[in-house]
């Protein structure tokens, strides 16, 4: 069975390491915060100027001056810091953020990503995504394997305007964990109950499959 959004987030949370500073994008990536493994300390960065994002506030405590990059009300944990947007992107551009998790419309075999514009239909802007993918040490894409119409999002070459080139290192989808290698997509794990064949069929780009592919361990 393919994973739901929380399943994807839970699998990505396994990539976190003690001491990491992490930027989580809007959508599925935000959910990763709910699954940080016990016993490790991870600091979440929000590019609008907060290091140390806390849980969503109680309704009575929601503060219009305290939001995340998705413009949702949040809280700040003890020991957090506020700063301006130039400082925030200095952290990002300067390589001080260990991991970025973001969504995508398309990811290509060479690690290119499209995530911000559908010409003639939707223009929301790139926000901080281009800065993040150009600079973070490690970039994981969180997405469904196919779009609503069943079209693969893991493709040979991006067709939509690019967000960044050759930057994605790993993709965690509802069906699989795929690494982006110099040779292309490499299947490393399957979602529980999903076969290699099903993943191949849902992947437009060439998929390297070597030996037995284990199921994700989400317990």
């Amino acid at each position: 069975m393919a994973l739901d959004k929380n399943g994807i987030a839970k699998r990505i949370a396994q990539e976190l390491e003690d001491g990491y500073y992490v930027n989580l994008g809007i959508g599925i990536p935000t959910l990763v915060a709910n699954f940080i493994p016990e016993g490790i300390e991870v600091t979440l960065q929000s590019e609008n100027g907060l290091l140390g994002i806390g849980p969503f506030p109680k309704k009575a405590e929601a503060d219009p001056d305290l939001i995340n990059a998705g413009k949702q009300t949040v809280t700040a944990l003890p020991g957090s810091a506020f700063f301006d947007s130039a400082e925030s992107f200095a952290m990002i551009r300067g390589g001080h953020i260990d991991l970025t998790v973001l969504g995508a419309f398309e990811v290509a075999e060479n690690g290119d990503i499209s995530s911000w514009k559908i010409p003639g239909k939707m223009v929301k802007g790139m926000g901080g995504a281009m800065d993040l993918v150009a600079a973070a040490k490690n970039i994981i894409v969180a997405t469904t394997h196919t779009d609503r119409n069943g079209k693969s999002k893991l493709i040979k070459k991006c067709t939509l305007p690019l967000t960044g080139v050759g930057c994605v290192k790993k993709i965690v989808t509802d069906m699989a964990v795929v690494e982006v290698t110099p040779q292309g997509f490499k299947l490393v794990e399957r979602a529980p109950g999903v076969s290699v064949e099903e993943i191949k069929n849902a992947t437009e780009g060439a998929l390297i499959v070597e030996g037995d592919i284990p199921e994700m361990n989400l317990s």
């Binding site: 929000s46 849980p55 939001i67 990059a69 223009v123 929301k124 901080g128 800065d131």
Partner: protein
């Protein structure tokens, strides 16, 4: 050095059609509400706006947008505003979309007297069009230019009569850099105190960058997405 003006209406005296303005804020957080409403009332036209976002349909910059007071917008993210998307897709509005960190740094550089600099963001994308590309340390970078404006409109939590400013939480965002990048910077604050009352250790924006300051009134501080745990 008393820079205090009475209100937003007095603060925008001299602003005219065709001017370029920067506006602080991220979404609706930390936007100069009073000054935006004064621009709406004064019906200033053909404005070029530099702002991370474009407000929502009926608040913030969205008000000026609906009244067609804006000619051009330089921003990074304009979602959550249907009228904006409509004007953009139908070509009624000139729009430059810029990566957020590049936008922030262009404003910082503009205020700091740095005409141009190199960043990796946007390399290999349509953001690269028309820009000088150079390799540094094995990585490709784009040349970006510093940005300044005729006016910078910023919103702070506390300010003093000399224009020293302190922001609150994530309402700082673009305000701090924009204050330095405006030829004339207008600051609106929730609390205006006599100079000498703010602790110099906690000033974010030194008063040298601010030309006019006033105490804002009737702050709505709208929340775009109220998200709670209960």
């Amino acid at each position: 050095m008393n820079k205090v003006v009475k209100d937003a209406k007095e603060a925008i005296i001299g602003m005219s059609d065709g001017c370029t303005i920067m506006l602080g804020g991220f979404g609706l957080c930390g936007i100069p509400e009073n000054t935006i409403n004064a621009l709406f009332d004064a019906d200033i036209q053909n404005i070029t706006c530099i702002s991370n976002n474009a407000g929502v349909d009926d608040w913030g910059l969205g008000r000026l947008l609906r009244k067609h007071q804006l000619k051009r917008i330089i921003a990074s993210y304009v979602g959550e505003n249907k009228e904006f998307e409509r004007q953009l897709l139908e070509g009624e509005l000139e729009v430059d979309l810029i990566p957020q960190g590049t936008l922030a740094e262009r404003i910082r550089a503009g205020g700091a007297g740095i005409p141009a600099f190199f960043v990796p963001a946007g390399y290999g994308t349509e953001v690269q069009e028309g820009k000088e590309v150079r390799e540094f340390n094995g990585k490709m970078h784009l040349m970006e230019m510093g940005l300044t404006a005729d006016y910078a409109l910023v919103k702070a939590w506390k300010g003093d009569t000399h224009g020293n400013l302190i922001y609150r939480a994530t309402a700082n965002n673009f305000n701090n850099m924009m204050a330095a990048a405006g030829k004339i910077t207008i600051a609106e604050v929730e609390e205006l105190v006599p100079f000498g009352e703010l602790d110099p250790n906690y000033i974010h924006t030194p008063g040298v960058y601010v030309q006019r300051i006033f105490k804002g009134v009737d702050y709505e501080k709208r929340i775009e997405f109220l998200t709670t745990s209960d």
